[in-house]
Amino acid sequence: MKMIYTSFDDAVSDINDGSTIMVGGFGLVGIPENLILALVDSEVKHLTVISNNCGVDDWGLGLLLKNKQIDKMIGSYVGENKEFERQVLSGELEVELTPQGTLAERIRAGGSGIPAFYTPAGVGTPIAESGEIREFDNREYLLQTALKADFSLVRAAVGDQDGNLVYNKTAQNFNPMMAAAGKVTIAEVEQLVETGTIDPNHVHTPGIYVQRLIEGKQEKRIERLTIRDEA
């Protein structure tokens, strides 16, 4: 059986100073909103955060940043956040930028027993300057190492009591790989259902990867509302 929580504060209470955490989401879509808020309240410090983006100034991981709880950020695009820029320029925050596909694969590798892999992404660019290049079939590839985390914080649409998860649309993004790459994976689900409710054919993340579950309601903020006119 999995640990089912009713308090977000309790769900993250053992995330200690200096922990490495993965946080699901692409932009603000698919982020574990309430788990992040609980981390802000916990005032845990010196975190290394692995996430594609770093939220916006007043929401998502931007809240942890504003509270100076992050020492190091590993991501692919952090351009939506002014406080991020300030902390980088002042030297308060260390950043490791990695191509988005490389980031996804490093996390996937971390959860699946692959210590490193070669990818064409980044060859001939600044990110390859200190890297190991190897040729396969007359093409150059860059060695990249796997990423793992002490805790992975993911968001799913539906979860059952056994930890099986189903994501909604593009809120899937980095969540499944992160669920597998965390020593302890905490899933914030929109709806927690009885085991057996989810058709096994439809499970995205098998329950083996998930240690804790908690149900919560999200705001689901939209970064760039783009609509077409009726006609």
Binding site: G79, G101, T119, P176, I222, R224, L225
Partner: protein, 225 residues
């Protein structure tokens, strides 16, 4: 002259409309953020295209009506979108496996500089805040054909097509075709070939505003867009 008076929006539309012609019916295509995303607005009726969004959607549909907006459904530019009939959702790992595995037919991306050997720089300007490369470094090695769309010269009137890129690279020897407000230029093994010149420009003007030597295609066409 009319061409000097074209405003920025008109120029962007001209480039986007020309870039649309690169899309073959039945193909899988990734459009970069910004001007490349605009190309989708000009896809001709009857052309069947499946647009890929690297955050995990194959089959981007139109922008939603107000009542259709779903906060869980966005494109890589974080704009709300819909999914077209036959679409699929997947993780970022699957998305980039699809990209690096060369399953996409075409990617149309923006550019800051392109070199004579097809090097591309489009992600950072030293001294300015570095926002990150997002998926660009993966995509340039994935799609079967990489088309870069950009202005022919920078705001100081200097060429953006160069012998060697000054800015840090996104990818080395990755570009197949460059489409600007002035010309269409192909990158081939021994250099650059001018294949089309936009309306209002002459072959000489294009040559003068491009740093590397241009070979002129035998089939060169002028005033095509």
């Amino acid at each position: 002259m009319a061409k000097k008076q074209m405003d920025k929006a008109t120029i962007r539309e001209r480039i986007a409309r020309r870039a649309e012609k690169e899309i073959v019916s039945g193909s899988y295509v990734n459009l970069g953020i910004g001007m490349p995303t605009m190309v989708a607005n000009y896809i001709q009726d009857g052309k069947q295209v499946v647009l890929q969004s690297e955050n995990g959607l194959l089959g981007i549909g139109k922008s939603p009506l107000k009542k259709e907006v779903d906060p869980d459904l966005i494109n890589a530019g974080k704009e709300t979108v819909t999914a077209q009939k036959g679409a699929s959702y997947f993780s970022n790992a699957e998305s980039f496996a699809m990209i690096r595995g060369e399953h996409l037919d075409l990617a149309i991306l923006g550019g800051m500089e392109v070199s004579v050997t097809g090097d591309l720089a489009n992600w950072m300007i030293p001294g300015k805040m570095i926002k990150g490369m997002g998926g660009a470094m993966d995509i340039v090695h994935g799609a079967k054909k990489i088309v870069i769309i950009m202005d022919h010269v920078n705001k100081h009137g200097e060429p953006k097509i160069l012998n060697k890129c000054n800015l840090p690279l996104t990818g080395k020897s990755v570009v197949n075709r460059i489409i600007t407000d002035r010309a269409v230029i192909d990158v081939v093994e021994d250099g650059l070939i001018l294949i089309e010149v936009a309306e209002g420009w002459t072959i000489d003007e294009v040559i003068q505003s491009t740093e590397p030597k241009l070979k002129i295609s035998e089939d060169i066409r002028t005033g095509t867009y």
